[in-house]
Amino acid sequence: MTGEVAVIGAGMHPWGKWGRSFVEYGTKAARAALTDAGLDWPDIASVVGANTVRCGYPGQVAGATFARALGWQGARVTSVYAACASGARAIDTARAQILSGMVDTVLVVGADAAPKGFFAPSGGDRPDDPDWLRFRVLGATNPAYFALWARRRMALCGDTPEDFAAVKVKNAAAGAANRHARYRSPVTAEEVAASPVVADPLRLLDICATSDGAAALVLSSVDFARRHGVADPVRIRAVSSVAPVYPRTALDLPDIATDSAPDALVPDGFRPSIARAAYEEAGIGPEDLSLAEVYDLSTALELEWYEDLGLCAAGEGAKLLREGATALGGRIPVNPSGGLASFGEAVPAQAIAQVCELAQQLRGRAGDRQVAGARVGITANQGLFGHGSSVIAVR
C-alpha cells in the first residue's frame, strides 16, 4: 500500500453548454472546493491543473491559468495531460507531492469548454498522427468505436439494444437528482429507442454528449486533515493509471488496427488491468465496494466496466444490470451521480468529478442519490492513446 491522502474539499461547476471560458468554470469549482474545505486560497501550497487541450494546444496551461485567476500567491504550479485520464493524473500528482512530504495541501482543478458535435483532431495534414489518420482515412469518430464494441458485445454476450437503453434509463434517473448534472430529466426506454441511430447499434441517447464543466478537489495529508478538525476524512487509497500491455488485441481509440498477437487472439486486458492495479494498491477487492463511478462513454461500455471491475463475471454485465444490482438501492450502485449519460464529457474535469461523487457519497452528503452506508468507492475511466485510470476512496 502506498499511503493515504485526505479529500477535505470538493467543488464543481454545473455541467452544461454555458458558452463561457473554461477558466471561469474552473475558478468557480476551485472556490467551491476551498469553501468546502474551510481553507483560504493563500494557504494552499500547490495547485495541479488537468490541461484543457483544444486543437493540440494546452490552451492557457491549466495549473498556472487557475493560479492566476484565483490570484498569484506563490504556490507550486503543475499541469498534466493524459487525455480522459488527465484528472486522475492531476490527483496522483497531488498525492505524490503530499506523500513525499513536499506539501500539506494541494488544489486539483480540471475544466473544459467543449466544442459542438463530434470530437475531431485539429486542422492541417498530420499523417504521422494516428488520431488524424483515423478521421482522414476512415471517418472513424469516437461513437464509431463505441458502436464496434457494443456490436461485439451483442454477438458474444447476447446483450440487446434494450439492455443498452436500460443503462440510460438507470443513469438518467440518478442524474435527475444531481444539481451538477447537465441532463436532469428521467428518460424512458421508448425515448432511447426513438432517438436516431448515430452508429449502429448505438442511438443518440446511448452516447454521451460533450459538455462544459469543472471539478476541483482540495487534498491534504491525513495529519493535516485531523489538525484541521476533520476527524474521519475521506481518504484516497489508490490511484491507478497503468499503461496497456503489448499486444493490444481489441481495437481501441484511435487505432486503425490492433497489434499482432503471438498466439490466438485473447481478450484484451487493458481495462481490467486498470482496476486490478487500483485494487492491489488499496488492498481491497470488488466485494468490498459500496459504489462505482465508471466512464459510460456509451451505455454498452458501462456494462463492459461491470466485468472489468470484477462486479460480475465476463459476459454477465447485462445480467447484473437486469437484476437491478447496479441501480440506486441495488447491491452495488454504479454511476449514482448519473454518469456521463447525465453529465456529458468535460474531458479534463471528468475523472475529478468522479472523485467528487465518491467524496460526497462517502461523507453521506449525496441527498436523494445517497448510497446507504457507503464506505468504499471506485472510479474507472478510459480515453485516447492508451490512457485510463481508477481511483479508490474510503472512509
Binding site: L133, V137, A140, L148, R152, A199, L251
Partner: protein, 153 residues
C-alpha cells in the same frame, strides 16, 4: 491535384491491378506484424528489432465487429458538403494468420444488414471521394459470397 490513382496514405496497400493487398511490416527479430506499418522499431516490449520487412497482409478475414456512420464525420475526413450524406459501413476484420484486427470501410452498397460477426470478408480496392471531384484510392472490405468461402479459413 489528387487523382483516383493517389493513395490516401502512401505505402499502406498495393497499387495497380492484380492481387490487391494491405501492406504491413514484419519484424525480422521476433516476427511481429504491424499495420499501419512500423518501419523503424519493433514495438514488442522485449524486442530490440530495428529491421522490418514489408509484408502483404492476408486477403481474407472474418468480421470482428461492424458499425456505420449515419452522420457526416468532421474534417479531415474528405467529403463533399454539396452532396447529401450517404452512410457507409465500418468493418473491423480479424486476420487469422496475423492474429490482428484491421478496420476499414465496407465496399459501396454494403449495409449493416448484410453483415454478421464471424462472416468472411475480402479486401478490395476502393475510392475515397472528396470535395470538387478530388479522390484517393483506399481499401474496402467486401463480404465473400457464401459459395466462395474457403473451407479451411
Amino acid at each position: 491535384m489528387a487523382s483516383a490513382r493517389t493513395p490516401v496514405v502512401a505505402g499502406w496497400f498495393t497499387s495497380g491491378d492484380g492481387d490487391f493487398r494491405l501492406l504491413g511490416t514484419r519484424c525480422r527479430a521476433c516476427g511481429a506484424v504491424y499495420f499501419p506499418r512500423e518501419d523503424t522499431f519493433c514495438r514488442a516490449p522485449r524486442c530490440a528489432g530495428e529491421e522490418l520487412d514489408e509484408v502483404p497482409l492476408s486477403r481474407r478475414g472474418r468480421v470482428w465487429s461492424y458499425t456505420d456512420g449515419r452522420y457526416r464525420p468532421p474534417a479531415p475526413y474528405p467529403s463533399d458538403p454539396a452532396r447529401d450524406w450517404a452512410p457507409y459501413t465500418l468493418i473491423a476484420v480479424e486476420l487469422a494468420a496475423e492474429r490482428m484486427v484491421v478496420l476499414g470501410q465496407g465496399a459501396p452498397g454494403v449495409t449493416v444488414a448484410d453483415l454478421a460477426v464471424g462472416m468472411e470478408v475480402e479486401v478490395v480496392p476502393g475510392v475515397l471521394a472528396g470535395e470538387g471531384g478530388q479522390s484517393w484510392t483506399t481499401w474496402h472490405w467486401l463480404p465473400v459470397p457464401a459459395e466462395d468461402v474457403e473451407e479451411s479459413s
